[in-house]
């Protein structure tokens, strides 16, 4: 579209446009270059040497950091936690978010309040979320234990974040709490474009609520459904903030994920190169999913222009 357009513009104009274009992107490219591309390139360099944070000229070790990664016994549990995180942290918000969006769909009265209430957790800082949920999980004065006792489930009372058996579940539950609102708001926007007449027609044809969801609503919001799935999935690889704030990967590595493990290696064990190599691997792990997301989005924009 753009090139057709510019073919008809005079050369003087085109030159003026090119000059302004370069001028306008220059400050952007300067910042992106210095504070993103340059450190990203150094990350590759870091991963190929053995740097502990003080050497002026760290020795080149080739792929040794990556070889060590493959044999690292602490890596597997962290990767396993990431996989649990990806599965639960994607499925639960997706189901809950869709459920709430369907409930909210067509509800007029109080809809602003509901939307604010459900969406609020998503925009709060992870630090504050971690602090509040730590009180809820507190072994002695926590609301969760108190609630369990109230409903006669006192046998389950425990120090949720301090117990290696429950810590991951507890942090995940908090993450689900924050992510559900995000999923909900996107589904709600998608539902707005759903053809209501089709649903009415299905109702008249005798389809029950489940059949309407399965055969009429879901197919219409499928592109958005796949997109949200991919976004939360990719987020599962690079999860860091909430784990870092709530448990730091503990107790005894029970909540360690790849991100916190990379951080710990770099900033607590001074293994800058090893931590960076791991961080690069995490970024690469997410690439196939990112490409998939990109394809989906292209398909979705086709779908949107076709509609």
């Amino acid at each position: 579209l753009a090139s057709d357009d510019f073919a008809t513009t005079p050369r003087v104009t085109r030159r003026a446009q090119a000059r302004l274009g370069v001028l306008l992107v220059a400050p952007l490219m300067l910042l992106v270059g210095v504070f993103f591309l340059l450190p990203l390139a150094s990350a590759v360099y870091f991963s190929l040497v053995d740097f502990h944070g003080f050497e002026a000229d760290p020795p080149f070790v080739g792929l040794r950091n990556f070889v060590e990664l493959a044999a690292d016994p602490s890596l597997l549990p962290a990767l396993k936690n990431n996989i649990v995180w990806i599965i639960v942290g994607t499925t639960a918000p997706l189901v809950l978010g869709l459920f709430i969006a369907l409930l909210l769909w067509n509800v007029r009265r109080g809809s602003t309040f509901y939307r604010v209430a459900f969406f609020l957790p998503y925009i709060l800082p992870a630090t504050a979320i971690g602090v509040v949920w730590s009180w809820i999980y507190d072994p002695l004065r926590g609301w969760l234990n108190e609630g369990l006792k109230l409903v006669g489930a006192g046998a389950f009372v425990t120090g949720w974040l301090g117990n290696p058996d429950t810590a991951l579940t507890a942090v995940l539950l908090t993450a689900v709490w924050t992510a559900t609102g995000f999923v909900m708001i996107i589904f709600l926007a998608a539902l707005r474009n759903v053809d209501v007449e089709l649903i009415d027609a299905a109702t008249i044809d005798g389809a029950n609520a489940r059949q309407r969801l399965r055969y009429v609503i879901l197919p219409q919001i499928m592109p958005v459904f796949l997109m949200v799935t991919t976004i939360t999935l990719i987020g599962g690889f690079s999860v860091f903030d909430i784990v870092f704030v709530m448990t730091g990967g503990g107790p005894a590595g029970a909540t360690e994920v790849l991100g916190t493990y990379a951080y710990r290696n770099a900033f607590q064990l001074n293994r800058m190169s090893y931590g960076t190599a791991l961080a690069l691997v995490i970024a690469l792990l997410a690439v196939p999913f990112t490409i998939g997301l990109n394809r989906l989005q292209r398909r979705m924009s086709l779908y949107r222009t076709g509609a």
């Binding site: 510019f6 085109r14 003026a16 446009q17 090119a18 302004l20 274009g21 992107v25 400050p27 952007l28 490219m29 910042l31 992106v32 270059g33 210095v34 504070f35 993103f36 450190p39 990203l40 870091f46 709430i100 509800v107 009265r109 109080g110 309040f113 939307r115 604010v116 459900f118 969406f119 609020l120 957790p121 998503y122 925009i123 709060l124 800082p125 992870a126 630090t127 504050a128 602090v131 509040v132 009180w135 809820i136 609301w143 709490w177 559900t180 995000f182 996107i186 926007a189 690079s238 860091f240 903030d241 704030v245 951080y263 770099a266 800058m272 961080a279 690069l280 995490i282 990112t290 989005q297």
Partner: protein, 281 residues
């Protein structure tokens, strides 16, 4: 078939929906209510009666957190960090977004790809080398260093976001302005920028929230303890394993209150930013 009984059943279903929605939203809001309640109780009450919601009222925890806990200073620091980095993101994204959307120049596609790679790479991939780079540039532990890094983390999203707005404007617009004798610079500043101001506003709100919530950038690149923002202050305060829940709750409230107010007032802009982040991202 819409019989009278069908209609009343429909009303009953709506009532059931509201009951469910109210229950779910109360569960969702509970942690926030808990923070509010613990921050506004007397400190003795917080300790002796942790399960009483709003069982007493006192501002002593808030005052303590604000003065002794340094949260007053942290609040100012948060604005000092978040406002300039938000301005940088919005201004550079509007400029870059316009150029990438409507101005042909050599290398445009390559440069655009270099910018949007930022959407795919998590921050922690390059946070370690960036630490040593800032040290080498004498920007570690400085205000400009942290502001520039914070701004840089938002530029990829901002550029994609603003580019989408400029792409949607009809091509006849600049042609008409050009016939009227406007220069390229005037077309950008007088014709185009005003037309995307709602998008720029949404980006500003969204970016400000991101910067407000950012913990990792100040944690890593302000090791000396200067210019500590609320998120970092709260993180360190909580890490002190203090049993003094009252001031900790007050600190939490001070950290999240501006976010909540901003979100409730500018709900539309925030959701728009996040929706297009997901859809166009």
């Amino acid at each position: 078939m819409r019989t009278p009984s069908g209609r009343s059943r429909k009303r009953l279903a709506l009532g059931g929906k509201h009951v469910l929605l109210i229950g779910l939203s109360l569960v969702t809001l509970f942690p926030i209510v808990l923070a509010l309640s613990s921050a506004l109780k007397t400190r003795a009450d917080v300790r002796s009666n942790p399960f009483g919601l709003f069982s007493s009222f006192s501002l002593e925890s808030i005052t303590r957190a604000w003065t002794l806990g340094n949260f007053g200073e942290y609040t100012i620091n948060t604005f000092v960090l978040a406002v300039p980095s938000t301005i940088i993101v919005v201004v550079l994204s509007v400029m870059g977004g316009y150029a990438f959307a409507r101005l042909p120049f050599r290398g445009r596609t390559v440069l655009y790809y270099l910018v949007i790679v930022g959407l795919l790479v998590p921050f922690f991939t390059y946070m370690i080398p960036l630490y040593f780079q800032l040290q080498g540039m004498a920007l570690l532990d400085t205000l400009p260093g942290v502001i520039l890094v914070m701004a840089s983390t938002g530029l990829a999203f901002g550029t994609v976001f603003m580019r989408a707005f400029f792409s949607e404007l009809p091509p006849e617009l600049d042609q008409a302005a050009r016939i009227d004798g406007a220069s390229e610079w005037q077309i950008f500043l007088r014709v185009m920028v005003p037309l995307v101001s709602s998008g720029a506003g949404a980006l500003a709100v969204f970016t400000f929230l991101q910067n407000w919530n950012n913990l990792l950038v100040p944690l890593l690149y302000l090791p000396g303890g200067n210019w500590r923002p609320l998120t970092l202050g709260l993180y360190l305060f909580a890490g002190g394993r203090s049993i003094d829940i009252g001031p900790l709750a007050a600190g939490t409230l001070i950290t999240i209150l501006p976010v909540i107010v901003l979100f409730v007032v500018l709900q539309r802009q925030v959701t728009q930013g996040i929706l297009s982040g997901a859809v166009k991202g």
